[in-house]
């Protein structure tokens, strides 16, 4: 994308003069956009990937503004970076920061097909750009933008010449939204009551009849990450929320062991005086 833009800009320099400001902004934005695109592919973390894509989209948006299309540029920023990428990020954050893609091929021959189709797409793009460089003469949007009529002219073309594709796109989007709602909808009127749930618990339809034990907050520490202690002094693993456990379990393993008493140290849970405890052992 950026490569093609670079070529276009060079070709534009031959056909019509590129202003200094435009050239400067291009040489700032193009490396940023390209770096973002490469970063998106090579970043290990899914959220970092998404952030690199945001960088590319922002650079493209600013490029549109420089190329006399301010409305398109700002819509690019509002819709793509503001809404779509934000939803992406939302999902990524919900899925969890530690999840990463597996490198195992799920479909057979996936890589071969990906390579073939990728080369095909690259070929199409190169042909298209080459065609644009040789036989298309850039006109510029000065005439369309005269008197600040950029937005009005876009509106006119969308609702006259391109009405059908526009309506088609909106129909597609509405279908997608309705589909998502149908798939995600659960009938709340059939939800079980508290009584029925309690009966089901005792019938053995759940993992355990009682609710999960509360954490050991305030018993010996004031953190929700402290597990509760069972009557025999061992820890109750279910007492710490799965989210807290998953977030920091690896990094904080030592801390958890210390709290659980696996590492010898002064026993905060001991109720008897120290001398009596020595005698027990």
């Amino acid at each position: 994308m950026s490569n093609s833009a670079m070529l276009l800009a060079q070709a534009g320099a031959e056909v019509a003069k590129v202003s200094t400001g435009e050239a400067i902004s291009f040489w700032i934005l193009a490396p940023l956009a390209l770096g973002g695109a490469l970063g998106m592919i090579f970043a290990r973390n899914a959220v970092h990937s998404a952030m690199f894509l945001v960088l590319t989209m922002l650079s493209l948006g600013v490029m549109y503004m420089v190329q006399q299309a301010p409305f398109l540029g700002f819509v690019q920023i509002i819709v793509y970076t503001g809404a779509i990428m934000m939803l992406f990020l939302f999902v990524l954050m919900l899925v969890g920061r530690d999840s990463s893609d597996s490198v195992v091929e799920v479909l057979r021959g996936q890589r071969v097909w990906a390579a073939i189709l990728g080369i095909g797409l690259a070929g199409l793009l190169v042909t298209g750009v080459a065609e644009a460089l040789t036989s298309v003469r850039p006109v510029g949007l000065a005439e369309q933008n005269a008197g600040g009529a950029n937005v009005a002219n876009i509106g006119r073309s969308v609702f006259t010449d391109y009405l059908f594709p526009f309506e088609l796109t909106s129909a597609l989007l509405i279908t997608a939204a309705l589909g998502a709602m149908v798939l995600g909808y659960t009938d709340k009127s059939k939800r079980r009551t508290q009584r029925e749930t309690a009966d089901a618990r005792f019938r053995g339809e759940h993992d355990r009849p009682s609710p999960l034990p509360g954490p050991g907050v305030y018993a010996t520490a004031n953190s929700v990450a402290v597990p509760a202690l069972l009557p025999d002094g061992s820890i109750a693993p279910e007492s710490v929320s799965a989210i807290i456990e998953a977030t920091a379990s690896r990094e904080l393993a030592t801390d958890i062991e210390t709290v659980a008493g696996a590492i010898p140290g002064p026993d905060a849970h001991a109720l008897k005086p120290a001398a009596a405890k020595e005698g027990d052992k």
Binding site: N45, P70, G82, A83, G148, A152, T247
Partner: protein, 430 residues
């Protein structure tokens, strides 16, 4: 010369001067707002508020500004370091962009140079503010994610959902204004409010904007991303020292931007308010005076923010989302349609009016049909007494005594024997 031509003529020193002034305006107003908020909230809660540093505690923000950078900076071990450092920058920098397109005043002369009190008047000025707001969310969301702990993550998620939802309502409220002005440039929008302010002419849109602007800035009663009773401090729980200050300032500058935007769109921008505009052939609407009105109106909007915070309790999250999607968005959509009809009413023929009226009535009938029947709250439940429990029945009919069965009688007998002290409690499991 038109506004855009005047601005295009600006020499580079004037542009830099304007940038500096806008920057200082944002920071100073944010500081004053912090002080005013603490004083006003204090007054609303019958306590003095900050009153130790300077007269009326006026120097409190400066004392805080000195204190904060010297506090210890704690980075959680689980944090994603680069993103953690990037997030405050992403939160603060876009907020300033919004102020760049705000028209602070009409044509004036600065050191002999004719210009407009505005940095740049883009033909798509309204979109600039929306775009800046949508970039600003990244700061909050990434702060929540990169901290690596659950509470900030939940705060970040809430904030993302909240800002996206309320930006839709806000955008639709703005569409109503754009329909009237036929322009997205903020300068043109102010100019077209010479007569009636849009806040009065388009009151429903103004109301929706007011609600959406509070939701958009994560302020009370919609401060769910940082609800202290639920999420400690939300997305900035793990931030301390200067990074926390940046989030703090960003929130206040964001408030200033949405207030300035609301002023420009609905409160006549820099125009003098009605009785003053009559004095001396609109003298107070020329030169540097309008800047005073503009800043005054921003101050009013900021007071509104503070007043809301002092008055209303926090919403529950699902109620808040319901308000946005099921109330504000439909109302603004209906309002936009109604506004369009009013605008083209003169051009319609009688047949056209009749057809649209018929269509409207059909729509109304369909809507009425869609209202669900009220479900009987106590369907299928046997009444305990004549009236509703625990209110005694109106006719004061005493419920009949249940007949004592053999089983009940034996249980009662056993209870008496237990009370007498006999040892037969072992088989008492019934």
């Amino acid at each position: 010369m038109s506004r855009a031509e005047l601005l295009a003529d600006d020499p580079i020193w004037l542009i830099l001067l304007k940038v500096l002034c806008i920057f200082l305006f944002a920071l100073l107003t944010a500081m004053i707002t912090v002080w005013a908020e603490r004083r006003l909230i204090g007054r609303m809660q019958n306590r003095p508020g900050p009153n130790r540093v300077g007269p009326f505690g006026l120097l409190q923000p400066i004392a805080d500004a000195i204190k904060m950078p010297f506090k210890e900076e704690i980075v959680p071990r689980t944090a994603d370091k680069v993103t953690y450092r990037l997030a405050p920058v992403l939160a603060l920098s876009p907020t300033m962009i919004g102020l760049a397109v705000m028209p602070f005043g009409p044509e004036v002369s600065i050191f002999g140079e004719r210009t407009v009190l505005q940095l740049v008047d883009l033909p798509v000025g309204v979109l600039v503010v929306l775009a800046a707001a949508s970039i600003g969310v990244y700061g909050v969301v990434l702060a929540g994610w990169s901290s690596g702990t659950p509470y900030p993550l939940l705060g970040g998620l809430r904030s993302a959902a909240q800002v996206i939802s309320y930006e839709i309502a806000m955008g639709l409220a703005i569409v109503a204004v754009i329909l009237q002005t036929h322009s997205l440039s903020l300068g043109d929008i102010v100019d077209s409010q010479q007569g009636l302010w849009f806040g009065i002419a388009l009151f429903p849109a103004f109301f929706i904007y007011l609600v959406a602007m509070v939701g958009e800035t994560n302020r009370a009663p919609f401060d769910l991303p940082e609800a202290e009773s639920e999420l400690v401090a939300g997305f900035h729980t793990e931030y301390s020292s200067m990074k926390f200050v940046i989030f703090y300032i960003a929130e206040y500058i964001n408030m200033i931007v949405v207030s300035a935007m609301g002023t420009t769109l609905f409160l006549g921008g820099y125009m003098a308010p009605w009785p003053i505009s009559l004095i001396g052939d609109n003298y107070f609407n020329s030169g540097w005076w309008p800047m005073l009105w503009f800043i005054g109106k921003i101050g009013l909007a900021l007071f509104f923010f503070i007043w809301l915070r002092g008055t209303l309790p926090r919403y529950r999250y699902d109620q808040f989302m319901k308000l946005g999607w099921k109330f504000l968005v439909p109302i603004s959509l209906v309002f936009i349609v109604a506004l369009t009809v009013i605008n083209v009413f003169d051009q319609l023929s009688t047949t056209g009016i009749l057809i649209s009226a018929g269509f409207f009535i059909l729509l109304l009938i369909a809507l009425v049909m869609m209202i669900p029947d009220r479900r009987e709250p106590r369907a299928g439940r046997v009444p305990l007494s004549g009236g509703g429990y625990p209110v005694p029945p109106i006719d004061l009919q005493i419920p009949s005594k249940p007949r004592r069965t053999k089983q009940a009688r034996s249980r009662a007998g056993r209870r008496q024997t237990v009370a007498a002290g006999a040892k037969e409690g072992d088989d008492g499991v019934s």
